[in-house]
């Protein structure tokens, strides 16, 4: 038993132990509940409160930073702490720190006798001190759309004390996200500014400006060409309108919204441009600004859904220009048809009916045999010799001789020719004499052929010798044979190499005639003169496309179908030959066109180069195709969708000064926020740049201008009511030029077989000098003359005479006699501008409003609008297929204030990012300290606009005499940043 009991613990003992521990446990629990406490509760409470304090600090710091964003640090204690590379973010971090220090300092959490406080390391009011604060705060954009703000603050310390004794401390670097788009607003504004200053090589304002100015310039340029009274194709107001519209598009694309006030301004300005604004410089630009701003007010607070403008959102219907073979076809036609020493048709007609024959021989040696000996032996001397030769010709058999592909053998013989040569020699030795005989026999096989062909014509297959040409072939064959002396003679001669080729030509009776040739020529001309190529007009204007080359390659792909005939009969060969001759002439003409175009291109390039790198023109052309209104993309942050409103002052930037009050900007006086400049490169053909083109065409004197230019200038001068300097002198010169050209027409008509009297009568005109000369230069006179002189002629004749007249005019126009002097033309043009301006002033002084509108139209439309302008692209007469003009446009400006408001706020308002030149300040230790400046948003753009109109007329360009047009504010001055109205930073909110 005792053994069994050992090691056994009674259950009761376990029970005692359990009881004892439970009592002890209760004692412990009670002790904790009522006795000395741990600092955890206080620390937890303080940490929780610090979360709200930090959040509030960041919310308010972000609102302050947005209100006065630092873009340039000030040269102050606080400003120097900001890195110049990221002043805005540094300033935000500093503000966060300052707010946080103050707010955390007020946390005072008491739990069970323990007090917990929160602190950040204090900052000294020195540059280093501020720098340390900045280094302890980190801000970053986060979220799917990177719209929210993530902040980390280092060294947040919670300290617990009981009875002034520290009982616990923790240090943390809390990171949290606040739904504040402050960084997004700043980054977008920075991007807006950088794109607003980007050149054409990257997307931004310059490109958008280009896309907007093109349609305006084109529609106005084409209207001017069409006779609309426009003297200023691209004016300050158009640049103003395009700049504003481009800026609004940039706002939408980059900022996410645009100022509806700006949209109204653009709508109003566009309405004016599209409707009443046909004339330039009318009424002064102040009136224009008034019109735009008051119409903007009329449009009211809701921007129109659809822009009423219509002109520049829709690109003009055709931005491509069609370039036709056109007059090159006429020139080629005439070149082929001319009956002078190179009568191409006659030559082709004869050649296609000609058979050419000749004799060919082919000799081969059959054998050579020698009989008999030489010297009889030693001591024998040759005393004399005689030689006799005998040739035997006998018929043989075999193939004809071989001939080149173009030739065919019409008849042949084969002979063996044996030539025996016997040499008798006399030898003497002392008194003895001996005779030896040596015989050499050579036998040849001679093949003789009489061959024929049709003489080759370029790009025409060789003709058949049978059929229409068979008689001629036989005849020629016989003649060649006769000339060579007959078969046996030929055979005999052949082995000595002296056989005659005896070429003979025989022309068959033509189965065709000249008329047929002309018909073919006309047909191919008709099929080629309409061949055209569509090229971007702007590309032509700046010489990026060579239309001559384009047309050439287009024609070459069609060549075979244009040649049409590929038969071998003389008729077909003739017809094809005529077509070939025509197409070759046309190609030559187009090549000359290319050369002329190359000269023009280099002028355009050098003209443009002084303003803009020509390499960027490609960017211009690309931009020109895309005019779009970007739609903002939606952005969300943890609080939902973010919307951004833009408010700029002025919302619409005029080129005239506007009162600050009118655009709701603080302060007195005017704001001149937009300055533009546009230079019309080829303002008129008699100006400097165009001159250099003329210089490159050697036969056109540099001191003379074309009759068309002079006549158009004269016409403008004659419309003026006042006296115009040099008008009568110019009239004389134009009259002489006109007479010279008409004289040339008379000569041509006489050469065409008309009587002198009827020819002279036909060119008479009763019109005024200017109109007469213009009629000659623009082709209307040709039709009139033709009607008078060739009314009874048939179509062929009429066609021919027309071409001859046209060519005569073209040639005569390049004669110095037909070109009035540059000095008289320029003088008159200047005087027209002068008087027009004077007349306008008096009209404006006399009449008001509605009345003056018509009067202004009269003055400007009739006179300035009809002055010629523009650069004739390839201005060689006959190659002139377009008139181009180039405008170099520069625009620069600033927003007096640009504000972005997002729908995130602090309960009393929304976060608003403001760039107004104001000062950014912080409060620290009771002092206001300057951090830096919220610089105004500026922009600068430049581009080149090219307008191309069809040839003729008065071209396209600014004819009001203002080549370098500058708005009143040019060059732009951006006012110094605003010291007078320091922005106030918000006091911290709850």
């Amino acid at each position: 038993m005792i053994d069994d009991d050992r090691g056994r613990v009674p259950f009761a003992i376990l029970g005692v132990i359990l009881l004892a521990s439970s009592v002890g446990l209760v004692a412990t629990v009670d002790d904790r509940a009522v006795g000395t406490s741990s600092p955890d509760a206080a620390i937890e409470g303080a940490t929780a409160e610090s979360a709200t304090a930090l959040r509030a600090s960041v919310t308010n710091a972000a609102i302050d930073a947005a209100n006065a964003p630092v873009t340039t640090p000030a040269n102050t204690t606080a400003g120097s702490a900001l890195s110049p590379k990221r002043p805005f973010r540094d300033a935000l971090e500093l503000r966060v720190y300052l707010h946080a220090v103050e707010r955390l300092d007020r946390i005072d959490v008491r739990r069970d006798g323990v007090t917990a406080t929160v602190s950040l390391p204090p900052i000294e009011p020195t540059t280093d001190g501020y720098r340390e604060a900045i280094d302890r705060v980190h801000v970053e954009r986060v979220g799917d759309d990177r719209a929210a703000l993530q902040v980390t603050i280092e060294n947040v310390t919670v300290t617990a004390t009981r009875n002034d004794r520290r009982v616990g401390q923790i240090e943390r670097d809390p990171t949290f996200v606040v739904a504040s788009p402050v960084l997004l607003l700043h980054d977008r504004t920075s991007e807006f500014e950088s794109r607003a200053n980007a050149d054409l090589s990257s997307s931004g304002l310059s490109r958008r400006l280009t896309t907007r100015l093109y349609p305006i310039a084109w529609s106005r340029g084409i209207a001017q060409y069409g006779g609309a009274p426009i003297a200023n194709v691209v004016g300050t107001r158009h640049v103003e309108l395009a700049t504003n519209d481009a800026l609004l598009a940039e706002q939408r694309a980059v900022l996410g919204a645009s100022d509806p006030g700006g949209d109204r301004g653009v709508a109003a300005a566009g309405r004016r441009v599209a409707t009443t604004d046909l004339l330039a410089g009318v009424g002064g630009d102040e009136d224009w600004t008034d019109l735009v701003l008051s119409t903007a007010d009329e449009i009211g607070p809701d921007p129109p859904d659809r822009s009423p403008v219509g002109t520049w959102r829709d690109p003009p219907s055709s931005q491509d220009i069609s370039i036709e073979v056109g007059s090159s076809a006429d020139r080629a036609f005439v070149k082929v048809i001319e009956e002078d020493d190179t009568d191409e048709i006659g030559r082709l007609l004869e050649r296609s009916h000609t058979v050419e024959t000749k004799v060919v021989t082919e000799t081969s040696r059959l054998f050579r045999r020698t009989e008999g000996g030489g010297s009889p032996g030693y001591g024998w001397r040759r005393d004399g010799s005689s030689t006799s030769t005998k040739t035997d010709v006998s018929s043989s058999f075999g193939r004809p001789p071989r001939v080149d592909g173009a030739w065919t053998v019409r008849d042949f013989r084969v002979y063996t020719v044996t030539k025996t040569r016997t040499t008798k020699r006399t030898w003497r030795k002392e008194n003895r004499t001996r005779t030896t005989e040596r015989t050499v026999v050579r036998r040849h096989l001679v093949r003789i052929g009489v061959v024929a062909r049709t003489p080759p014509i370029t790009d025409v297959p060789s003709g058949t010798l049978d059929g229409p040409l068979s008689d001629a072939t036989e005849c020629a064959t016989a003649r060649s044979l006769d000339a060579a002396g007959g078969w046996r003679t030929i055979a005999r001669d052949a082995i000595t190499g002296s056989a005659a080729m005896s070429k003979r030509r025989v022309v068959a009776d033509p189965r065709s005639d000249r008329k047929t040739g002309i018909r073919e020529l006309r047909d191919v001309r008709e099929h080629t003169e309409d061949v055209s190529t569509e090229v971007p007009a702007a590309a032509i204007g700046v010489g990026r496309v060579d239309p001559g080359a384009t047309l050439r390659s287009k024609l070459s792909t069609r060549r075979e179908s244009l040649l049409r005939y590929d038969g071998r009969t003389p008729q077909d060969r003739f017809r094809r030959g005529v077509r070939v001759a025509y197409l070759d002439a046309l190609e030559g003409d187009l090549e000359e066109r290319s050369e002329a175009h190359g000269r023009t291109t280099s002028v355009v390039d050098s003209a443009v180069k002084s303003y803009l790198d020509p390499a960027r023109l490609d960017g211009v052309l690309a931009a020109h195709r895309r005019a779009s209104r970007p739609e903002p993309t939606s952005v969300a942050d943890p609080a939902g969708n973010l919307t951004i409103n833009v408010k700029s002052a002025p919302p619409y930037l005029p080129t005239e000064p506007v009162d600050r009050e009118r655009i709701d900007v603080r302060g007195q006086g005017d704001v001149l926020a937009l300055a533009t400049r546009n230079v019309n490169v080829f303002s008129s053909p008699h100006e400097q740049v165009a001159e250099s083109i003329i210089d490159r065409i050697p036969w056109l004197g540099a001191d003379r201008v074309s009759l068309a230019t002079a006549a158009a200038t004269l016409r403008a001068a004659e419309r003026s009511n006042s006296s115009v300097d040099g008008r009568s002198r110019l009239r004389n010169e134009v009259r002489n030029g006109d007479a010279h050209v008409r004289g040339a027409i008379v000569d041509t008509l006489i050469a065409e077989g008309f009587r002198r009297s009827s020819a002279e009568q036909a060119v008479q005109s009763e019109s005024k000098t200017a109109h007469r000369a213009l009629a000659v230069t623009n082709g209307t006179a040709t039709e009139r003359i033709l009607d008078r002189v060739a009314a009874d002629s048939n179509a062929d004749k009429r066609d021919r005479v027309r071409i001859q007249i046209e060519l005569a005019i073209e040639n005569a126009l390049t004669d110095v006699e037909a070109r009035p002097s540059r000095s008289s033309t320029s003088r008159t043009a200047d005087s027209v501008r002068e008087t027009a301006r004077n007349e306008l002033e008096s009209v404006l002084a006399d009449e008001l409003e509605d009345g003056s509108k018509e009067a202004r139209k009269g003055v400007f439309g009739a006179q300035l609008g009809s002055l010629p302008a523009g650069l004739p692209v390839t201005p060689v007469p006959g190659y002139w297929f377009a008139t181009a003009n180039v405008w170099y446009v520069e625009t620069a400006g600033y927003y007096e204030r640009l504000a972005l408001r997002a729908n995130r706020g602090d309960g009393v308002g929304s976060i608003t990012y403001v760039r107004d030149g104001g000062q950014a300040r912080i409060s620290h230790e009771g002092d206001r300290r300057r951090l830096g400046t919220a610089e105004r948003v500026t922009f600068r753009a430049s581009t080149v606009i090219v307008v191309v109109v069809p040839p003729g007329g008065t071209g396209v360009g600014d004819t009001n005499g203002v080549v370098d047009e500058r708005s009143p504010g040019w060059p732009l001055e951006i006012p110094a940043d605003d010291e007078a109205h320091p922005s106030r930073s918000m006091p911290n909110g709850s």
Binding site: T52, I911, S990
Partner: protein, 257 residues
């Protein structure tokens, strides 16, 4: 045999002792539950939970405690007349309420100094029945920084009024709102209501969008009122300075029947 009897007894004693131990433990913890009503976790929730609340001018996304502090400022009355209108305080009540338990009540209040006629107060939650046991936690959310020490009644009054007006009418922003057609009328209405309550003419500067002048007039009227009341309330300017308060106080109460 002995062994059988002693085992039974042994187990019986053991069970008895375990029973006593259980009673002891229950006795120790049962009354403790009453002590443990604690509002700290609820206060921590308010301080750390965030929620978006829509206002007339956008979304405010911050902690519930911060929402309450802003809403308290916007609920401020002067002699029981409201200074501001707007949907934000109600929206805050709703948001906070949906984040509270049924047996919690939160009160946020602001008064620049004791017995001021200007005060703001917001209460969210269910009031406790009279016999309930209550645990309270208090926290404060500051509304202003950089208040420099002021030594006279008028400078203390001026400083308080300035901080308040700057906070509720931030002049640069309100100016931009007044010149923007999309926001002008709402902001003008805010100024008009405040002007009416404080008996200040705002129309003339309002027509000029001159928010400097507007704020000057509003804070001038407030400052006069504060100075009079401070002189009544405090015996010295020194005690007045110590008695002023730019914090919103939030009290969280959890109750139990």
């Amino acid at each position: 045999m002995d062994r059988g009897v002693s085992t039974v007894l042994d187990v019986a004693i053991c069970l008895l002792l375990i029973g006593v131990a259980v009673v002891t433990l229950l006795g120790a913890s049962a009354p403790g539950q009453q002590h443990q009503i604690d509002a700290d976790p609820d206060a921590a929730t308010l301080a750390t939970s965030t929620a978006p609340v829509s206002t007339d001018s956008g979304v405010v996304h911050t902690s519930l405690a911060h929402h309450l502090a802003i809403a308290t400022l916007l609920e401020v009355t002067v002699e029981d007349s409201a200074l501001f209108a707007g949907s934000y305080p109600d929206a805050v009540r709703e948001t906070v309420s949906s984040n509270l338990d049924d047996d919690v009540i939160v009160e946020a209040r602001w008064q620049p100094y004791p017995n001021s006629t200007m005060r703001g107060r917001i209460e969210v939650g269910t009031p406790p029945p009279s016999e309930a046991t209550i645990a309270a936690t208090r926290m404060s959310v500051p509304i202003g920084i950089g208040a420099t020490p002021h030594t006279s009644y008028d400078s203390i009054a001026e400083s308080l009024a300035g901080i308040f007006v700057d906070r509720v009418f931030p002049r640069k922003r309100t100016r931009l709102e007044l010149v923007d057609g999309r926001t002008a009328s709402a902001t003008a209405e805010r100024y008009r209501l405040a002007g009416e309550t404080l008996a200040v003419d705002v129309e003339q500067p309002l027509s000029m969008a001159d928010t400097d002048e507007l704020d000057r007039r509003l804070s001038g009227a407030l400052s006069d009122r504060f100075e009079t009341e401070l002189r009544e309330e405090f015996s010295s300017s020194r005690s007045a300075r110590e008695g002023t308060n730019t914090d919103v106080t939030i009290v969280v109460r959890r109750w139990q029947r």
